[in-house]
Symmetry: C2
Subunit: 109 residues, 2 copies
């Protein structure tokens, strides 16, 4: 029974959405994101996160700024761009739709 596999599949597609939800609240750098998603019970690896952030940046949905750290090297804080906010609004709608779909499939006669 490979439920774990399916479960991770279910979460996979949500990653991008969840990261953008996080960034809507406030700018974050990579370790922030990993930690705060972990608090929300969404596990994400470094090797997943960095390419994903780069992709969103390349697509114009994210920007970033360097900020000094009190200890250690400077950090890349990512922020949602205007296009990012628009895209996120559409993803909110997609999320609602998926919820409706599952609700429908669970309760249909």
């Amino acid at each position: 029974m490979n439920t774990d596999n399916t479960k991770s599949q279910m979460r996979k597609g949500m990653l991008e959405y969840c990261i953008m939800l996080l960034l809507r609240q406030q700018p974050c750098y990579a370790n922030d994101i990993i930690q705060r998603l972990h608090e929300a019970e969404m596990i994400v690896m470094e090797g997943t996160l960095y390419p994903l952030l780069s992709r969103l940046k390349r697509d114009g949905l994210l920007g970033y700024e360097w900020r000094e750290s009190t200890q250690g090297p400077p950090r890349k804080y990512y922020v949602l761009t205007d296009d990012g906010h628009k895209a996120l609004a559409q993803l909110d709608a997609s999320w609602e739709e998926i919820q409706r779909t599952v609700y429908f499939l669970k309760n249909e006669k």
Copy 2:
């Protein structure tokens, strides 16, 4: 803005779950599944569905039986096995968890 890509990514992981939800209601063959998921606004292609059904069958979550059709060749009706029901119960829990995660990320201060 590649929202469509992300949107389809979000739906991807849900496919397996949605198909098992459908089969919990009643046995279906491939075209049934495609059509009924379409009614629930979840699009799935043949080339996606057949390998997925084979995988679930191989993992012991689904079984099937051949049924004659009034017109055309016989159909392979898939049904949930006992293990399938157990796995689906766990996926129900995963789904609840994902909903909580998104709710948390949307409303966190």
